[in-house]
């Protein structure tokens, strides 16, 4: 019904109200079937129940509108006096009950399928942070953060919005196709919810508890989703991107990932110049700090203090490092020590001390942070 009605809706609404209709917008009116077996099953169930509701609606509203049209006083209708019938009451209790049983059967089998505990090929721990996701490939021993990749300029309407506005990340989650991937979903701070509509997976991420979900993606592609549980200020800005690759592509990606981790260790040991640290630091700042402290370091006081000219960013470097590494318990400031690599930490601290008019001119080397973390 909906599908056929679309052109009509577009015409009537479009011509009555002169909206500045965004070219990229579409008029999706229904759930998408998605790509996995489970998502198709869920979609079919959705459609069955939708049509049952439509049929019931047509019958009930049909009788009602017929009464409205035919039994109006202005047409001289004389009211009947009946006001009860046990038979009818029993009938219209029993029929809905039977319909419900009819709905419950496919729903139950779909649910049992979703709860299938059979062994998985790949286990990925998904951790929700305010406001980003972290993915840990448990047995492959790699892990990384996935941050929103949309620029503040697009969000604040200073630049044209791209096709994947708010649904793009710097590091997508990469999985192989046709493998059972198990997601272990948890959170670092508040409750989040990991949702990718195309694979029909939505699981709440709860701090201290680990939830489980799984999928088998049959075809390569990029599948986008968002956090679905209100988790604070940037709840709307922590998207999820899942990239499904063929086994060979996945293996290549994995090897590259592991090599990159080795390179990161090398980078840690070299001596960086101020310029190099500033350049890297700006990127780290943009994906980890700018959400609260703003791209220009102005913050959103009082919850998120300004860094520009702040006593920490312009004070002793030791104290600055301490705040970034360990956070400030009881405030929004998280401990970034476990989240960022020594290179990233050194870069972002150096950046904060030398950007936006902060001009300490000092810097800290990644190796110093690494040694400190190892020695203490």
């Amino acid at each position: 019904m909906f599908a056929k009605a679309i052109p009509w809706i577009r015409l009537s609404i479009g011509s009555f109200l002169f909206f500045s209709v965004t070219a990229k917008a579409d008029w999706d009116v229904n759930m998408r079937p998605g790509v996995t077996e489970v998502s198709h099953q869920v979609y079919d169930l959705h459609m069955i129940i939708f049509w049952i509701c439509v049929v019931i609606g047509v019958v009930v509203f049909g009788i009602m509108f017929w009464s409205i049209i035919a039994h109006r006083k202005s047409l001289g209708a004389k009211p009947a006096t009946f006001h009860e019938s046990t038979t009818i009451e029993i009938i219209w209790t029993a029929i809905p009950f039977a319909i419900l049983i009819g709905m419950a059967v496919p729903a139950t089998s779909a649910l049992i399928n979703i709860y299938d505990p059979s062994e998985s090929d790949l286990d990925i721990k998904v951790t929700g942070y305010q406001w980003k996701w972290h993915y840990d490939y448990l047995e492959e021993e790699i892990g990384f953060f996935s941050n929103l990749n949309t620029s503040p300029d697009e969000i604040y309407n200073r630049a044209e919005k791209n096709d994947h506005y708010l649904l793009e990340v710097d590091e997508p989650l990469v999985v192989p196709i046709n493998k059972k991937v198990r997601f272990l979903v948890t959170a670092n701070d508040v409750i989040h919810s990991w949702w990718v509509p195309e694979i029909a997976v939505k699981k709440d991420a709860i701090p201290g508890f680990v939830n489980e979900a799984w999928t088998i993606i049959p075809e390569p592609g990029v599948y986008r989703g968002q956090c679905a549980e209100l988790c604070g200020k940037d709840h709307g800005f922590m998207p999820i991107v899942v990239e499904a690759k063929t086994q060979e592509d996945y293996d290549a990606w994995l090897a590259e990932r592991q090599a990159a981790a080795a390179r990161e260790r090398e980078l840690r040991d070299k001596v960086w110049t101020l310029e190099e640290l500033m350049e890297r630091g700006q990127k780290v700042y943009a994906s980890n700090c700018a959400a609260c402290h703003n791209a220009d370091g102005s913050g959103i006081p009082p919850a998120f203090p300004a860094l520009k000219g702040s006593p920490v960013a312009t004070g002793p470097i030791e104290a600055h490092l301490n705040v970034v590494l360990n956070g400030r318990p009881g405030t929004y400031m998280a401990a970034f020590g476990p989240q960022l690599s020594p290179v990233e930490l050194a870069a972002v601290i150096t950046y904060e001390r030398n950007a936006w008019g902060n001009s300490k001119g000092d810097m800290i080397q990644p190796i110093d942070i690494a040694n400190r973390q190892a020695a203490e």
């Binding site: 062994e119 201290g208 680990v210 489980e212």
Partner: protein
């Protein structure tokens, strides 16, 4: 019927209703232990229950393997490094095993931590028995101190056959000194 009630009986009505109100308020708090009991019995939310006291020798099920994965998380405000010594073990149900986790306080001050275990899938949480676990106690580490924290466990031979893999995750929480002293 109602209007013929004697006066004193009538006055009881709001008193009874107030009693219901107070009862429901207490019931609100009663939901806390009630929920814990339900979680322990059903394994809801992956709670693994308290220390398991072994009363008799175990029958080891030699016919099958179960993979136990270990993983760790740090809650916000918890800067320690914290990792399992091995990411997975293949075990026979009923066989006692031992492993350990490594925690290190990389900050410059003394801190108190509490590790909270969670098992996925939830439905089998009650089949993972811990006879010795660091999660039963708070962990105090001085600045820069590190520690190996032991875990002794076995998988119950009664574990449903459909389940061949379970993941034990510890989340490390920073306990403020106030809460730690309670």
């Amino acid at each position: 019927m109602a209007t013929n009630m004697p006066g004193d009986k009538k006055a009881m009505k709001p008193a009874k209703l107030l009693a219901v109100v107070l009862g429901m308020f207490c019931f609100g708090f009663l939901l806390v232990p009630l929920y814990d009991v339900i979680c322990d019995v059903t394994g809801l939310n992956g709670k693994t229950g308290d220390q398991y006291v072994l009363t008799e020798a175990l029958d080891v099920d030699e016919s099958r393997w179960v993979t136990v994965q270990f993983s760790t998380s740090n809650n916000a405000d918890m800067p320690w490094s914290f990792a399992p010594s091995e990411v997975k073990m293949r075990v026979r149900p009923g066989e006692m095993h031992e492993t350990y986790f490594i925690a290190k306080n990389i900050t410059g001050q003394r801190m108190v931590a509490q590790a909270v275990p969670s098992v996925a899938p939830f439905s089998v949480a009650q089949y993972l028995h811990k006879t010795e676990c660091f999660c039963f106690n708070q962990q105090v580490l001085e600045a820069g101190e590190s520690i190996q924290m032991p875990l002794k466990f076995f998988v119950d031979p009664e574990i449903p056959g459909r389940v061949s893999k379970l993941t034990l995750t510890y989340t490390l929480f920073n306990l403020p000194e106030v809460a730690a002293n309670l």
